[in-house]
Symmetry: C2
Subunit: 497 residues, 2 copies
């Protein structure tokens, strides 16, 4: 069966062999179907593997079937239709002998001189795949991604150990005495791997490790250290829980969060997202829900009484927390779009404006005169300018405004929390005016600092040097891989402003 | 003399030979010094030539001296120091014989297999240079940029005519009977040009045209049609006036202006810029001046009387006009920076906010209650959201929001003019509220339309496809060459919002 699709067929990214032939006995949950179809936070392990590879540019997959072949085939066929990638199936008749024999079944489907090889039941991040794809490979070499940070390995007893030096594997196996890394199950291979596997099989050795051992003997087995990247061999109920923990832990690590997001909002929104991701609720519905909660909260602020102010404050803070969930659920489900980011960030601006207007109305009712309103005007314009300033900077200069104190203090999460704290004690207006004035001061600081930061660059813009950056604000990768020193100007967390 | 500088030395852009040896007798203004030093709107012809080439990536220049060599040398040396490019000088002893002999003097300075050749006294746009640089050149060929739109040629009698077919020059000369294009004086050449010039010189023919004729005889003279690009042979007092006219005409043609900018503001700001460009006033000073005028105008709006309202309206509209001058002067002087665009656009937001606050204060003084202030809040947030929305769109999606009616109606030029018209008749507040509500409606339209426009793209953002666009919002080119069908998201006119 061959699901055709045009996406990315012209890239130079190699195809990917997915081993989905194993039995998964250790998982011991036969009622849930074969292991690649097990769901972790809303998506099956198999779908997560495909999506991690697709986000790295892979568009053609060869899935090796074995145990429960028809159920696994049906699952991957459905994923390929829905996500738009080519999936070809091969059946490994003797899969039960070992995963080396399963890999051998893909031999005739490999047309290029390089291919990826991954396990259907491993959780891997796009960044890990990308790092492996960037490895230089010489003639007839095979490269294995290994993790040197062995203390972070979840189930070290069961892991395949590797001893390597200067990028070359010296030995590999489950029971090495001396080892310095662990096999992650991700390979970048030349077809020489098949010859090595066939050699090993001729000697009654049927695993991938045996094949790599053969290559190591002739110095053709390379290792690339992917320490710090998200990966997990999911083969026990415990490791499924660990997979969830690691996926959730990777959210909100893009370095663009403010103080409150990091220390308050994310701690509440991530558990909430873990619940939401199991429901059919879409990220867009969460965005709209957060906006609606903010509007209801704002309505309570117009009532100049303590109880209403407390209700309003709780609702607005709830909205601020839920505002983090849309992006989290989108990333967990690999559904993040520029589309969603656009709606989210625009509605945030309207929600801010509604809250300020409501607080000012509530306070102004009991305090006639121009002063309350001047405060409201200052706050609403300050909050909008805060969002505007750093985005204008990124757009004008083509680089993001640095995530410094000015930038972190002017964020939405902080100003909403301060206003809500004010609301709980009955002083939402005063908290709002203080935040409004502070925010104006921060924006002036950003204006001056932005001018100063670029003054080394004040020469005429003679050559319009093209500056490539990813087209979209959100990528669909859930891995902890967005901490580049200079983040993409649009890599901010969904709705962070 | 060799002015060293590191800029762009590693690019593949060829070096450029500038012929600055001629006498310029027809200009007949000996008191103003040699022709390449004649100023057109604040910059000499020689400096404009260098800047047009630098903006196209050229960083090394060979200037051929002849008539008044020391004055010309001193001028180009000063330009090279100030603008940061390599300039090497060669002296053509027999320059008076013809420009072919002058070009021959550069022979030993050409180290690469391709070079540009331009005239120091021609006005050329960066886009023209870029088009010529993109021409494919075969072995021992020379390519001449020609203009087929002969009706636009300023002084057809004096022009060198060209007859070409399928990109190959058949004949060239001042007095052809049959011709279909005009020589622009810009060449992309291989060193074969020098051999052709030497051949011609051996037969007593001393001009570049003679050399091209030799190449045409063996089918090695190519032509590239640059119709529509800005170029002008500046050799008479009349043509200096025409050069000014064309440079000014190229301002404000970037397709990003609103209705009012195009039909009102630019008509006032361009003549003003033509005056300002001759003074030492910098674009940044103009930006600050425009902001200051807006603040003074806003102050008058706080007085709830007709005379004050009229003064305020005039000042705010003046500020809106002057707001166009900073970018125009910067482009005319090749001084445009992202720096300047940043200050300009941020101060515009503050000026808008100040004007709205002042109008609301003035009206609120005579009309107690919450309603006047709600109107002010609506207007100030509407105006900020208008600027925010399209910039957020460009940043999130990596493409500019289309310049449709919604986008053109929500611009600053229009809302300021409407408020000022209201001010002149004594109703600035009402005009402001109407514009505020209209702007909010437009922003909602942009939000919905932006969501709809991208819904064909609503698939998960699987591959973060890199999208190259020029780093800076403004390039330093004054040519009419920014009308690409999909403008750069940051190519908006300085401060257009």
């Amino acid at each position: 069966m061959h699901w055709s699709n045009n996406r990315g067929s012209k890239t130079n990214v190699p195809c990917c062999v997915i081993l989905a032939a194993g039995e998964g006995r250790r998982l011991a949950m036969p009622e849930k179907g074969p292991k690649p179809t097990h769901k972790v936070l809303g998506l099956s392990l198999g779908e997560r593997t495909i999506l991690a590879c697709m986000a790295a540019g892979v568009s053609r997959f060869i899935v090796v079937l074995g145990s429960q072949a028809e159920a696994v085939r049906a699952h991957f066929a459905e994923v390929s239709m829905r996500r738009g990638c080519d999936v070809e199936f091969v059946v490994a008749a003797d899969w039960h002998l070992g995963n080396g024999i399963s890999a051998l079944a893909a031999k005739d489907s490999i047309l290029d001189d390089r291919f990826l090889l991954v396990m259907a039941d491993h959780l891997v991040s796009t960044a890990l795949i990308q790092q492996v794809l960037h490895t230089a490979l010489c003639d007839r070499e095979v490269c294995l991604a290994v993790d040197q940070n062995t203390t972070r390995v979840f189930d070290p007893d069961d892991a395949t150990k590797v001893q390597f030096k200067h990028g070359t594997i010296e030995c590999i196996g489950k029971h090495l005495d001396v080892w310095n890394a662990v096999d992650t199950g991700v390979f970048l291979a030349t077809p020489a791997l098949f010859d090595a596997l066939a050699d090993a099989a001729a000697q009654g050795q049927y695993t991938l490790s045996h094949g790599i051992e053969k290559l190591a003997e002739i110095g053709k087995a390379r290792a690339v250290d992917v320490s710090g990247q998200l990966w997990l061999d999911v083969d026990t109920p415990d490791s499924i829980r660990e997979a969830k923990r690691r996926l959730l832990g990777s959210l909100g690590k893009n370095g663009a969060d403010g103080f409150i997001s990091t220390h308050v909002n994310r701690r509440l929104s991530i558990p909430l997202s873990a619940l939401l991701v199991r429901t059919p609720i879409t990220p867009t519905q969460i965005t709209l829900g957060s906006f609606f909660i903010a509007l209801v909260g704002a309505a309570f602020f117009t009532v100049d009484q303590l109880w209403a102010s407390i209700v309003a404050a709780c609702l607005v803070q709830l909205s601020s927390v839920v505002d983090g969930c849309d992006g989290e659920v989108a990333r967990l489900r690999h559904l993040a779009t520029s589309h969603g980011a656009w709606l989210d960030t625009m509605l945030d601006r309207y929600a801010d404006t509604a809250v300020v207007m409501a607080i000012t109305l509530g306070y102004g009712a009991g305090h006639p005169g121009a002063l309350p309103w001047l405060g409201g005007l200052a706050a609403s314009t300050g909050f909008l300018l805060a969002s505007y300033s750093t985005k204008e900077f990124a757009l004008t200069h083509g680089v993001p405004y640095p995530n410094n104190v000015l930038n972190r203090l002017k964020r939405r999460d902080l100003r909403l929390l301060v206003m809500c704290c004010g609301g709980v004690v009955g002083y939402p207006y005063h908290a709002m005016v203080v935040m409004g004035l502070v925010t104006h001061a921060l924006v002036v600081g950003i204006l001056v600092n932005g001018w100063r930061l670029r003054s080394g660059d004040a020469r005429p813009a003679l050559v319009s040097s093209p500056h490539a950056f990813p087209r979209r604000r959100e990528t669909a990768d859930a891995g902890p891989d967005r901490r580049s020193p200079i983040p993409d100007p649009r890599a901010g967390s969904r709705g962070a402003a």
